[in-house]
Symmetry: C2
Subunit: 478 residues, 2 copies
């Protein structure tokens, strides 16, 4: 039975646990917590709670457990799959981690950092930079997203190729479990092979097994040098061949290998009409290398590109000669995301396939859009080095939004089918949340479903952690 509103008694109990300042139960106070960053989803909640300490997160969770109230843990609300927005209005409590936002410790000699879950990613990156270290997680939302959310969603971004996803960067977690108990999984150790690695359960679990309150991450030396080039290529096949050569010829120094279909460039001009890509080829690649001080990175990249041009893989190459030029290359890549947001509603995917299958994925997806949704504008770009393509589709400008949304669902379904047909994934990095739950669940084997359900039941037996996210709602679980 869905609770419709909190009684004064319950509100009183919450207030005595976390203070009046920690509660928003009126529509105005809740509004900013009930809509996502991209503007795709609006949700509801019985109340938004803002605990200011780990003990307060425990108190709130214990109370909700006792009352049988479902909890939606929320970070910076920059996710794209409605993981922290209850669109169904299932009578849930949002628990925002935003007041738990301190960096607890930086240890540059051990190359580790420990922070509260609500600490904004950019704040962490800046603090590391000030200590001559690098925390490499890098994504468009880094000025708003929080490290706890990054952990809970196993965030990806543009540096995955070199440094891995959030999972690969996390050394330890601190988690409030469904019954309010606290698990301290911090150690500061780079290597610790002692029994089940429990932090792995929570990374990428999207708040369905517990509430992450603290994160310990690995740091890296701040690169002394970066070299960036913007390349023009004839085809996606050439881009994949180039990537394979780059892996072999540029050691492990490639920090980004982003692919952009030239059709995306028009969109960038929505942000800045004066912006031009430095090349005009049908497929464009942004490649970045970084290293410590003793390597002639400039020569390495120049030699690699010279050879690639000789082999006919690359038709045009512009090497950034200043950090301003480097930024201008990245502005094109980032402008893509902003440009799409400016266009309002659009189909957004996050597909992955085996790296050699990227050209087939893009070709099949383009053909599908042209044949079945003429007038819609396909955009292909993404993290090619990870096999991850954001194949997005803009509705025709003249289409009313509600019509576009209705039609968009068919477009998504067709694109998912193509990725799955190639043995790929419908979620390379954005996660499942609520918006992809049905398709995700439908694609699992019965054995896989049973395993997911067993894990959920083991850690959240009453189904109160982020109900409706990732797994089907409690009552429909076998």
């Amino acid at each position: 039975m869905t609770v419709q509103r909190l009684s004064p008694e319950i509100l009183g109990a919450i207030e005595s646990a976390i203070g009046q300042n920690g509660i928003a139960a009126d529509p105005a106070g809740m509004a900013k917590y009930l809509g996502d960053w991209a503007g795709d989803y609006r949700g509801q909640a019985l109340a938004v709670l803002r605990p200011a300490s780990v003990a307060e997160v425990q108190a709130v969770t214990r109370l909700c457990s006792e009352l049988g109230l479902g909890v939606v843990p929320q970070g910076g609300n920059t996710g794209l799959v409605s993981g922290a927005i209850d669109t169904k209005g299932g009578g849930l409590i949002v628990v925002s981690l935003e007041r738990l936002n301190a960096i607890r410790q930086i240890d540059p000699d051990n190359f580790t950092l420990r922070a509260d879950a609500g600490c904004v990613l950019q704040t962490i990156k800046d603090a590391c930079e000030a200590r001559d270290c690098l925390f490499p997680l890098a994504l468009g939302a880094q000025g708003s997203c929080q490290i706890g959310g990054n952990a809970a969603t196993n965030a990806g971004g543009v540096n995955v190729l070199r440094y891995g996803m959030a999972r690969d960067l996390i050394l330890g977690l601190e988690v409030v479990l469904a019954d309010g108990e606290l698990w301290n999984g911090f150690s500061g150790l780079r290597k610790n092979n002692s029994g089940y690695d429990l932090k792995q359960l929570f990374i990428g679990s999207e708040g369905t097994l517990g509430i992450i309150t603290g994160v310990e991450v690995k740091l890296f030396p701040k690169p002394a040098k970066t070299e960036t080039a913007y390349l023009g290529l004839a085809s996606f096949e050439a881009a994949i061949a180039l990537f394979n050569r780059a892996r072999r010829d540029c050691s492990d120094l490639i920090s980004a290998f982003e692919i952009i279909g030239s059709e995306c460039i028009d969109l960038v001009r929505l942000i800045d009409p004066a912006m031009r890509a430095p090349v005009s080829a049908p497929v464009q690649v942004l490649i970045a290398l970084s290293s410590g001080p003793g390597i002639d990175l400039d020569a390495l990249l120049a030699a690699f590109l010279g050879d690639a041009m000789k082999k006919g893989l690359v038709s045009d190459a512009v090497l950034a000669t200043s950090s301003a030029q480097e930024k201008s290359f990245w502005a094109i890549r980032e402008g893509l995301v902003e440009g799409q947001a400016k266009r309002g509603y659009h189909v957004r995917t996050d597909l992955s396939v085996r790296i050699p299958d990227i050209p087939a994925l893009i070709e099949q997806a383009r053909r599908f859009v042209a044949n079945y949704h003429p007038g819609w504008i396909p955009l292909a770009y993404g993290h090619a080095g990870d096999g991850n393509i954001h194949f997005n589709v803009l509705p025709p400008a003249e289409l009313a939004e509600h019509e576009a949304r209705a039609r968009g669902a068919d477009v998504v379904a067709g694109l998912y089918e193509i990725a799955v047909g190639l043995g790929g994934s419908i979620s390379a990095e954005h996660g499942i949340g609520r918006s992809r739950r049905k398709e995700f669940w439908a694609g699992l084997s019965p054995t896989h479903r049973r395993m997911v359900t067993a894990l959920k039941n083991a850690f959240d037996p009453n189904g109160l952690m982020n109900p409706g996210c990732l797994l089907p709602a409690r009552e429909t679980i076998a």
Copy 2:
């Protein structure tokens, strides 16, 4: 109730599932499966089963599940913590994966490989090399250990610093669950953020949640260049300072940073009396860098070491000028392990602490041995870049083995106490198995224990997967 022997009916059922060739139930046939590589443990079993296909592993597991018989999955039997040897004789069935030993697929364009669990690590490394790729997992036992065992124990080794432990190298698993069902967790995708990452449960779970039958791993370009140096330093503090400088100055190109206390060198001479360390300083470091073709790695290492000598961090440095010399450096590091084995029983640990705490760990451990166990010979060496020290102790030569073993337990307890006192781990890479279970379990918080137990119960409700390993035996679980 412990079963003492299998009835003819049960043996008949097993035989019809996997054929007579798949069963050894007599002492002679079982012997090689009931002792470990290092010669530390002897165990018992009702029978040793050798299924030759995934379907046969399923059949065997299903049968054991129906009969309530506990199963010990076994790989190359090179583990050091009695994880695959039932020393207590608890009436268990050993399931050896050795006949499941094919490489299923190498995909150099996607930089992935898929193999049966029983495939020997060296076989995989050789197959990759032949396709111009590198599978970087590297450990002393690589000629015997199997990839399934590497996954089940989250194996470490000498390349962890650059490439991570087995967990970091695994893209997918195939697992037979406790009830005999098969979970196919293969995808070939470099990036797939779709719900709980179930493979993480099984990696490092030491066979207590299921039997791994197949492993999919990430490959890397084969390095074109390797540079190795053997260094002499005045202290462990200097070694840690050097490592920090190396991380910053040599980019991510360090593939090994091994530390050796000079007292270890005598031991190496047990293998080859003519062997001499190239330097005679109290602390010795083996550093290796590797890269692709376009980097002047030789100059990078020489410049780094020149600077380190100027700063007084390094007193002697010998750069390998041939691959024979490089091999001779590694022969010292590897001779250490063989030398200890030649001495027979000795105390073996696998401690980790925060990297800056390594000197304190070694100093406290040495003082402890000198004060409480005079005459015992402490050896300090290990993977300093991972914070992982193998602080081993040889009993006095004149001590009878049974006395040495009795006393050795006290030595181990004292060393564990020192590591834990520094916030460290008693198992950096070797795992828990049966031999460290008591100390491991005693060190866990009640919350952590409940989580471990919940996970075990969710995937192995009848407690039949590797009973007695990692967790307390079933009947004592709360």
